[in-house]
């Protein structure tokens, strides 16, 4: 197949393409298992294969995919025709930024490959965790595992050849019950990763999951009888899974270069950031240091190379509150620099990613991380808050089309009074305008509070692509935030 791919790439150049690449998913395997109320709910295996071909011709992109490898040559011709058709309405000729030609490989660091674990053992662990979520107050509960493996071969007309074997492991615990007002409340947990460990079945047999299951049930019991979160302006302590959402929606998406240029306008929206802002704009307080790090170990956002064949890079996005860079690809930085009439971006940030062989890669988050700060461990952060709220676990999120504002609802909140947790509150929500909010960043937790959260449901693009990525985030404290209850 590699010979066939090389021949097709050669033929595309001969037919007039200026560049082409092929991503062949030799093996695209997904297993999903779940319980619902103590009974097996889902047991399915997905096996796919296919290839996506991207062709640059007359300065425009064409893309075509197939799941029938017998028709690969026809698919290549279709992609070339798409590019020629697209070139009929072209204002700016796409010129790829340079990259190193590489013959290389990447493999997720895995101790126990989930594909080698018997279904019996998987079922045993699934139901062991399910049992831990049972309680009289819990009327709905579930445990889910998802194991994903891809073997991808990438080759392009510049001579790069890259083999990747990528494993992702997801697991979630959910429990819910009816509160004192007769309304459903929920607690949930999704596993995170440790940059010093590995990604595999070992994540599932980790006994911390047992502890977490018990904690969820205990917290749910408290939520069911807790008072509503009061509407007020106060300090807000945001724990890791909510911090991941906060970073994702108001930093990550806002700094995708295609959004900034206007290529996502018709669907996902634009960005409040414009090209003049780089190196100048005060995005947040001096405590804010953010990066797009395609090298963070063990994250679903770390795949060795992006789908331009560019190695993962660690790019500083925001330095002491000042906007420095964006999520970039080979396709867009030349256009951005030309429009800005200055060199903002010197090379691709390695953030051009596709959900699968069926999709054209676009600028996507890899790992949008915040650096840990020097304001102490969680207890110390709480002790600094006179009147505040601590929140965890996203329940709902809605963001303005230019990422200029947001409204989030959380599963659980803890009222803080005089530096101590007072009680749990129900239905906490908070919202604000993105830039003022990041400028209200008061404290950033130290390394002990930093956690690598996994995200499996980031949607963007037309055709829509659901991306896997990570957010390494510390616990943070913001001042003067509008919080409330439900709407």
């Amino acid at each position: 197949m590699q010979k066939k791919i090389a021949d097709i790439l050669d033929s595309l150049l001969a037919m007039g393409a200026s560049y082409a690449d092929i991503r062949w998913h030799q093996d695209d395997w997904l297993q999903s298992l779940s319980t619902l109320k103590g009974i097996l709910h889902q047991n399915s295996t997905r096996k796919r294969q296919g290839a996506g071909i991207r062709v640059l011709c007359d300065g425009a992109w064409g893309f075509s995919s197939t799941e029938n490898m017998n028709t690969l040559a026809d698919t290549a011709k279709a992609a070339l025709e798409q590019a020629r058709s697209a070139a009929q309405l072209r204002q700016f000729k796409i010129e790829l930024s340079p990259k190193e030609t590489l013959i290389s490989e990447f493999q997720t660091h895995t101790l126990i490959d989930p594909r080698t674990v018997s279904l019996e053992d998987k079922m045993k662990r699934l139901f062991e965790l399910d049992q831990l979520l049972r309680a009289p107050e819990v009327d709905l509960w579930s445990v889910s595992f998802e194991f994903y493996h891809r073997s991808i071969y990438y080759a392009d007309t510049e001579g790069s050849k890259i083999w990747r074997k990528i494993n992702d492991v997801a697991a979630s615990l959910d429990c819910s019950g009816i509160d004192i007002d007769g309304l459903r409340q929920k607690r949930s947990f999704e596993i995170y990763q440790d940059i010093n460990k590995s990604v595999g079945w070992e994540n599932i047999i980790d006994q911390d999951l047992n502890v977490k299951a018990s904690q969820l049930v205990d917290q749910l019991k408290e939520i069911l009888k807790a008072p509503q979160c009061e509407q007020e302006t106060c300090d807000l302590v945001i724990l890791n899974s909510m911090m991941a959402l906060q970073v994702h929606e108001t930093i990550g998406h806002a700094l995708e270069l295609d959004r900034i240029l206007g290529y996502e306008l018709s669907y996902a929206g634009g960005s409040h950031v414009n090209l003049d802002d780089f190196d100048h704009k005060v995005f947040g307080s001096k405590k804010l240091n953010a990066r797009a790090d395609g090298t963070t170990p063990n994250s679903p956002g770390t795949t060795g190379f992006d789908d331009d064949g560019v190695p993962g890079r660690n790019v500083v996005l925001i330095d002491n509150g000042i906007l420095k860079n964006a999520l970039t690809s080979r396709s867009t930085i030349n256009e951005a620099n030309t429009l800005a009439k200055r060199k903002i971006f010197d090379q691709s940030g390695g953030a051009n990613r596709a959900e699968s062989y069926r999709h054209m890669p676009i600028e996507r988050m890899n790992n949008i991380n915040l650096d840990p700060g020097n304001d102490g461990e969680l207890e110390e952060l709480i002790s600094k808050v006179k009147n505040g709220l601590m929140v965890e676990s996203p329940r709902s999120w809605s963001i303005g089309s230019n990422r200029e504002n947001f409204h989030f609802a959380c599963e659980i909140g803890w009222k803080i009074k005089d530096g101590k947790i007072s009680h749990i509150v129900r239905n906490p929500t908070y919202g604000g305008a993105s830039i003022p909010f990041w400028n209200s960043l008061k404290y950033v937790g130290d390394k002990s509070t930093w956690r690598l959260e996994q995200v499996y449901n980031c949607g963007k693009g037309q055709p829509n692509q659901i991306m896997r990525l990570g957010h390494g985030v510390p616990v943070c404290v913001f001042e003067n935030v509008q919080v409330g209850s439900e709407s």
Partner: protein, 466 residues
């Protein structure tokens, strides 16, 4: 693209010979998508896919798989079925597991596809954006959007029957968005959805964009204080509200598990849940239904369902076999191919009428962006306005507004509809790539809702000081 029905029959026979109950669904698609941005085509893609979805049952054990086969042969499919078979002894029993669904049999194989869409020249799609660029680029606008079209098919067989049932259809949906670069980056949008190439009307889209362009360039832009307002929602906003309500309200499974907005004892079948002027159906025979599929993706017949009749909850949709088995309920429809319709009223049928009859200050919201549930149990949601937010009063569009945030509940909305337009329109909800399945809802062109809570306004000066 087209599956050999004999392959499905052969694999089904294998299951029968093995004494196994099972169901096989074959789905295929061919899609094109052209995306525009900054007055040019930024992406031109095509996709073809063909997959098998297999579910097998032995006693109270069940296993499922999804497969792409290299050559779509009986031998390959049976090989995958055998691998699923091998997992059955390792699985726990599912006590509630019921028999397979009774598939429709008889003359229900429909083909509504426009074959011109399969190997079409995508220049036709590019031309829509070229027209918009020609019209608006020299007015300081940047054109963007997405145009998706394609054909799709599904065939279903199970061991209760001898023959597969199948459907083949096609659809298109197109959005054209203008960003008014010389007018503070304001945005406007026009959309269309349909089932065949002949229905595409680029001129009508240009006309609609022109109307919004005029409003946005001849009125002042203002912010509004937060508070409660009467709001006229445009078709995309109404469709969004209806679609989200269907997910948390009309799903029988959500009701059974009490994970939705209707509460047992309070919102039971027969109870009054919405205002008198609200009737909502799921009716594949309606003249307004765009994709008239008689058989769902689950292979069962789709009867006409009245969900809400004059505010009274009449039916819910039971579509998930696993949940229905748990509660001893019969699967009676298919949510994936639903054709929801909010029946029209006697309100204005044209934009001119709408504006002229609006005397008191009233907000107009064209589109609701990024809707999400803030509290499902109470049917509460939030979203922001987009692509046109206006203040209308004294029979005139007085101002256009910065985008605003709505925080409301579906209970409140559907109990406070002042009027519904007499004109009905279809709005796209399709999954258009990654296994195409056309879907739309039919809604009145506009509805007015009283006392909608507006909780934020995104005027730049308010954002910077918030």
């Amino acid at each position: 693209m087209k599956v050999d029905h004999q392959l499905l029959i052969n694999a089904n026979q294998y299951l029968k010979d093995q004494g196994i109950k099972g169901q096989i669904v074959f789905r295929s698609e061919r899609s094109h998508l052209v995306r525009a941005g900054r007055n040019q085509v930024s992406l031109n893609t095509s996709e073809e896919a063909a997959r098998f979805f297999v579910q097998i049952q032995l006693g109270k054990k069940q296993s499922k798989g999804e497969f792409v086969l290299k050559n779509n042969t009986t031998e390959e499919l049976i090989h995958e079925i055998k691998e699923l078979q091998a997992t059955l002894p390792l699985l726990p029993e599912i006590d509630h597991l019921g028999d397979l669904l009774n598939l429709a049999q008889g003359d229900y194989n429909d083909d509504h596809s426009d074959m011109d869409m399969i190997n079409m020249d995508t220049s036709l799609m590019v031309d829509v954006y070229a027209k918009a660029v020609n019209k608006f680029a020299d007015k300081g606008c940047e054109v963007s959007g997405a145009f998706s079209l394609g054909t799709y098919a599904y065939s279903i067989i199970n061991t209760n029957v001898e023959q597969p049932i199948s459907y083949r259809g096609s659809d298109y949906n197109v959005d054209v968005v203008l960003q008014l670069k010389e007018h503070n980056n304001k945005e406007i949008k026009s959309s269309q959805v349909g089932a065949s190439l002949a229905e595409i009307n680029a001129d009508a889209m240009i006309e609609e964009l022109d109307r919004h362009f005029l409003v946005k360039t001849t009125t002042h832009r203002k912010s509004v204080p937060i508070g409660k307002y009467n709001v006229i929602f445009g078709p995309e906003a109404v469709a969004e509200i209806l679609a989200y309500t269907s997910w948390v309200g009309f799903s029988g499974e959500s009701y059974l598990m009490q994970t939705g907005m209707f509460k047992k004892g309070q919102h039971d079948i027969g109870s009054k849940v919405f205002g008198d002027n609200i009737t909502i159906t799921n009716d594949p025979t309606s003249k307004h239904s765009l994709f008239k599929r008689r058989v769902g993706l689950n292979g069962i017949l789709r009867p006409a369902h009245t969900i809400i009749n004059k505010g009274i909850l009449k039916n819910l949709i039971y579509s998930s076999k696993d949940i229905c088995d748990r509660y001893g309920i019969v699967v009676d429809n298919d949510f994936a191919t639903a054709s929801f319709e909010l029946l029209p009223g006697t309100g204005p049928a044209t934009w001119t009428e709408l504006v002229q009859q609006t005397k008191e200050p009233t907000l107009y919201i064209n589109t609701l962006h990024y809707m999400n549930f803030t509290n499902v149990a109470k049917g509460e949601f939030t979203a922001t306005s987009r692509f046109g937010t206006y203040l209308i009063s004294e029979g005139k569009v007085q101002d256009h507004l910065y985008n605003i945030r709505v925080n409301d509940s579906f209970h409140h909305v559907f109990n406070n509809v002042h009027w519904l337009s007499s004109k009905i329109t279809s709005v796209n909800l399709s999954s258009t790539y990654g296994m195409r399945l056309a879907s739309s809802v039919s809604v009145p062109e506009w509805i007015e809702v009283k006392d909608v809570p507006i909780t934020a306004c995104f005027a730049p000066e308010l954002s910077e000081n918030a």
